[in-house]
């Protein structure tokens, strides 16, 4: 049976077509302001890549914050889907940190069964999310994709208080006025995100092996500081943005 997994996140919407053994098609686009329409588009794109029609799908499983806005046979939380999606790539994983656009999650997984043992999500705070990185990138006048390259060049350790995204923005402007370099400030932003996530993760005790998913898993700067803070080299799935949609397929 062919299954489509749809992950409608705050920033990205992903679709995966699964044939029961392997991935047949994937598609990914920014969520935009009409998640329902965007979900339809990515599903069509993924079906096109898999060279299939909608009628050949056995089930559609939705996850992510927009899961109730789309037509689906099953709706599963992103916590369960991330755990299942990561377990597909790394069956031995015991901790998953998913850093998404508007929230971050820490999930403890039983590697024997793949079941979620416990989880935590950040609440009412953009610090520690992809949105924080985007906001700070606007202040630094850089593309969010440049964080890793810039952070590698940093010379001086600068600490941001990361109380909240708005305070951090004004703090960053103050540091720019002090003449701090873009590289040092990019590193400071990455470190702030990493520290915020680790602070939450440590509440659950990080059990190795650890995997990182979500858009921020593609940010080398944040990964560097996460590794430094935790003292573990995290595993990153080949497509860290697609693990939620893949997990949705595997939830049937």
């Amino acid at each position: 049976m062919y299954v489509a997994g749809l992950d409608i996140g705050s920033q990205s919407t992903c679709a995966v077509i699964w044939d029961g053994e392997k991935i047949r098609g994937v598609a990914l686009r920014p969520s935009g302001v009409n998640p329902k329409q965007r979900a339809e588009e990515v599903l069509e794109n993924a079906l096109r890549e898999a060279r299939m029609s909608r009628s050949s799908l056995g089930k559609v499983v939705a996850t992510g914050y927009g899961r109730y806005q789309v037509e689906a046979d099953l709706r599963v939380s992103e916590i369960t889907c991330q755990a299942k999606g990561v377990a597909f790539f790394f069956p031995q994983v015991r901790t998953v940190i998913d850093i998404g656009g508007q929230d971050s999650k820490v999930i403890l997984v039983d590697p024997k069964t793949g079941k979620v043992l416990d989880f935590l999500m950040n609440d009412k705070c953009a610090a520690g999310t992809g949105r924080f990185l985007e906001l700070m990138a606007e202040v630094l006048e850089i593309d969010p994709g440049e964080y890793g390259i810039l952070a590698e060049k940093h010379q001086e350790d600068v600490t941001l208080s990361f109380t909240c995204a708005v305070f951090a923005e004004s703090e960053l402007i103050g540091l720019i006025a002090q003449g701090k370099t873009k590289a040092d400030l990019a590193a400071a932003v990455c470190q702030a995100v990493a520290k915020q996530v680790v602070r939450m993760a440590e509440r659950l005790n990080i059990n190795p092996p650890l995997a990182i998913t979500g858009g921020v898993a593609q940010n080398r700067g944040v990964l560097y500081f996460l590794e430094k803070e935790i003292g573990l080299k995290p595993l990153v799935p080949p497509e860290p943005l697609l693990t939620g949609a893949l997990g949705a397929c595997l939830s049937t």
Partner: protein
């Protein structure tokens, strides 16, 4: 504030302070009684709410404000009408009129980080929406914010505050210490307000209610019995506190017991323990719990006192009640031990604690609670939000957490 709004608020408070106006409720109450001689729980609650409005705003008896853990039996013994501002804050929020007093309090230096039960109550008191008190009674347990909150109320209304200091530890010595304070308050009230005391009737009613509550709890321990929708029992809070020691509480719980016996509903698949209270302004959470199959087998605030109240030693009995109940919530070891006991007794699969915004009493021990429960293999979810102030609630965040929790339990 806009002139029209200010005029409207002043008009409301003017009308609320006219006791004779509330006499108009009498024929309606009589008609309700005639129409529904055997009321359902909802009809009974509606009538009791109106009767309570008539008593409090109509100033039928001395109006005595009390903090949640000050025993209502003490107030019934002096033939007063108990009023619990924290409970009424929940009612205001449920009626959708919480935003005005919250805003009013915040615009008068009451920080938005303070507990919203207290913030709303202060705002409603400043606006004269609550019935004017004759005097106030409060305990320093379970929440340390209660003392400055009641001191503020006493200042606002210019009435005496009788404060009972509750030590953290529980022992015969601390019970004697609390009893001596209650005795002293009673003597002062007798001297200053010519109060006559009769503990016989309220104690008798409280003991009878206690027996019925034990029957209810014995029923709720059965897997086929569940109060639905989930968290509904927390709407019955006034009967556990404000009306304890009166016919009202006894009648209500007799009806609840009979309803649980006669009309067992299909229980939800999962049985959970609920810690702290719940949002009153929205039914979303209750509907979501139902949708996800998460039933509530027992609630922390439905725990009652099972000790004996003796009219011959009224202050000793009441002191023991206050101290035992405060200790069970203030002391982390006592609270966690009791939670574990409930998990076992009510056969719950997990625990949900609703983290009330700004509540130090409950959240201060979250780490210890989680560690102990996880150590015993009991899943626990901390759900952040606010029971009173809807600005601190995010429905979709609740949905994700609760759905993941349900999947975790089900998987």
């Amino acid at each position: 504030m806009h002139k029209k709004s200010a005029f409207l608020l002043q008009s409301i408070s003017f009308l609320l302070e006219r006791p004779t106006l509330f006499a108009l409720l009498k024929p309606y109450l009589w008609w309700l009684q005639w129409k529904n001689p055997f009321p359902t729980l909802a009809q009974f609650s509606y009538r009791i709410t109106l009767e309570n409005v008539l008593t409090l705003y109509g100033r039928k008896k001395p109006v005595v404000w009390a903090s949640l853990f000050f025993p209502a039996e003490f107030i019934y013994a002096l033939d007063g009408a108990p009023f619990y501002p924290e409970i009424t804050a929940g009612l205001f929020s449920a009626l959708g009129v919480g935003a005005i007093p919250l805003f009013h309090a915040e615009s008068h230096f009451f920080s938005a980080d303070l507990c919203s039960y207290h913030r709303l109550s202060v705002g409603a008191s400043m606006l004269r929406f609550f019935p004017r008190p004759d005097f106030l009674c409060a305990t320093s347990g379970i929440c340390r914010e209660t003392v400055p909150f009641f001191q503020t109320l006493a200042e606002l209304f210019g009435v005496p505050l009788y404060l009972v200091d509750i030590p953290h530890e529980f022992s015969p010595k601390t019970v004697r210490y609390v009893a001596s304070q209650l005795r002293s308050i009673a003597q002062n009230l007798k001297r200053d307000r010519r109060v006559t005391w009769d503990f016989e009737r309220p104690f008798e009613l409280a003991q009878k209610t206690q027996t019925v509550l034990q029957e209810i709890e014995a029923l709720r321990r059965k897997k086929e019995v569940m109060i639905l929708p989930p968290t509904k029992n927390l709407d019955y809070l006034p009967y556990y506190y404000q009306f304890m020691g009166s016919e009202t509480s006894l009648s209500f719980f007799q009806k609840l017991r009979d309803e649980l016996r006669q009309n067992p509903k299909n229980p939800l698949p999962h049985r959970l323990l609920w810690l702290h209270l719940k949002p009153f302004y929205s039914n979303f959470l209750s509907a979501l719990l139902t949708e996800l199959g998460l039933g509530i087998a027992f609630e922390e605030f439905a725990a009652t006192y099972s000790g004996e109240l003796k009219p011959k030693e009224p202050f000793q009995g009441l002191a023991e009640k206050i101290t035992v109940m405060s200790h069970a919530l203030m002391d982390e070891k006592a609270r966690i031990a009791r939670i574990l006991q409930w998990v076992s007794e009510y056969q719950t699969e997990g625990v949900i604690q609703f983290n009330q915004w700004g509540c130090r009493q409950s959240q201060g021990m979250n780490a210890l609670l989680r560690k102990t429960l996880r150590g015993e293999g009991v899943p626990v979810l901390f759900l952040d939000g606010d029971h009173i102030d809807r600005r601190h609630h995010t429905e979709e965040q609740w949905r994700t957490r609760l759905q993941a929790f349900a999947e975790m339990l089900g998987g």
